[in-house]
C-alpha cells in the first residue's frame, strides 16, 4: 500500500537554528499538508499546498514557517529560527484531490528544540 514517508523520525535542534522536515507524498497525490501535535495537545492544521503554492494556512503558520516542493517528489517544511515551543510531532499528509475523503498521513517527525 502506498505510504507517505517522513524523514528524519526524530530531530533535535538548538533554539534559533533552522530546521527542514522532509516528506515524500504518495506519487499521484496533488494536495499536501503539514499538521503538528504538541505533546499532550490536539493535532493542529498548519498548511495546505497545491499547484506549487499555499492554498490555506493557519494562524500558527507565521513568517518563521515555509513550505516547498523543490522537486517532483519531496515536500518540505522549514522553520527558520526554531523556538522551544516549536517542539512537537510534525505530520505530513497527502491526498489525491481537494475533496478526498481522508488523507494519508506519514509517521511523523518528532522535533525537539533545546
Amino acid at each position: 500500500e502506498p505510504e507517505v514517508t517522513q524523514t528524519p523520525s526524530h530531530q533535535v535542534t538548538q533554539m534559533g537554528q533552522e530546521v527542514i522536515l522532509r516528506c515524500v507524498p504518495i506519487s499521484n497525490h496533488l494536495y499536501f499538508y503539514w499538521y503538528r501535535q504538541i505533546l499532550g495537545q490536539k493535532v493542529e492544521f498548519l498548511v495546505s499546498f497545491y499547484n506549487n503554492e499555499i492554498s490555506e494556512k493557519s494562524e500558527i503558520f507565521d513568517d518563521q514557517f515555509s513550505v516547498e516542493r523543490p522537486d517532483g517528489s519531496n515536500f518540505t517544511l522549514k522553520i527558520r529560527s526554531t523556538k522551544l515551543e516549536d517542539s512537537a510531532m510534525y505530520f505530513c499528509a497527502s491526498s489525491p484531490s481537494r475533496d478526498s475523503y481522508g488523507y494519508t498521513f506519514g509517521s511523523g517527525t518528532r522535533l525537539t528544540v533545546v
Binding site: V4, Y33, Q41, G102, T104, S107
Partner: protein
C-alpha cells in the same frame, strides 16, 4: 466553523468486551467525519470515514461508527476488544469545501488482559 469533542480522554476495557469511544461534532455545513488511530511511534491511520452515504460505517479491524445527525454524534464501537487495539484514537471532522481537518483531543484506549 467545525469542531469535535471526544468525551473521554482515557477508556479501559477488558479483552473480549465491547469498545465505545464517544465523539460529538459541530459543523456549519454537511460534515465528513473520520476516525484515525495512532499506535505508539506510528503515524495516523484512517480507521473509517462518513461521507453522507450510509449512516453506519464499517472500518478496518472490526470497528464501526454511526453518524447520528440529531445527536451530532459519531461514536466508534467494536464488539470485542483485542490487545492490538490499544492505541490513541482521534475523531476528526471536515466541512465540505474546507480543506483542513479538525481533530479532537484523542482517546487513549487501554486493553486489560
Amino acid at each position: 466553523a467545525q469542531s469535535v469533542t471526544q468525551l473521554d480522554s482515557h477508556v479501559s476495557v477488558s479483552e473480549g468486551t465491547p469498545v465505545l469511544l464517544r465523539c460529538n461534532y459541530s459543523s456549519s455545513y454537511s460534515p465528513s467525519l473520520f476516525w484515525y488511530v495512532q499506535h505508539p511511534n506510528k503515524g495516523l491511520q484512517l480507521l473509517l470515514k462518513y461521507t453522507s452515504a450510509a449512516t453506519l460505517v464499517k472500518g478496518i479491524n472490526g470497528f464501526e461508527a454511526e453518524f447520528k445527525k440529531s445527536e451530532t454524534s459519531f461514536h466508534l464501537t467494536k464488539p470485542s476488544a483485542h490487545m492490538s487495539d490499544a492505541a490513541e484514537y482521534f475523531c476528526v471532522v471536515r466541512t465540505f469545501g474546507n480543506e483542513k481537518l479538525t481533530f479532537g483531543t484523542g482517546t487513549r484506549l487501554t486493553i486489560i488482559p
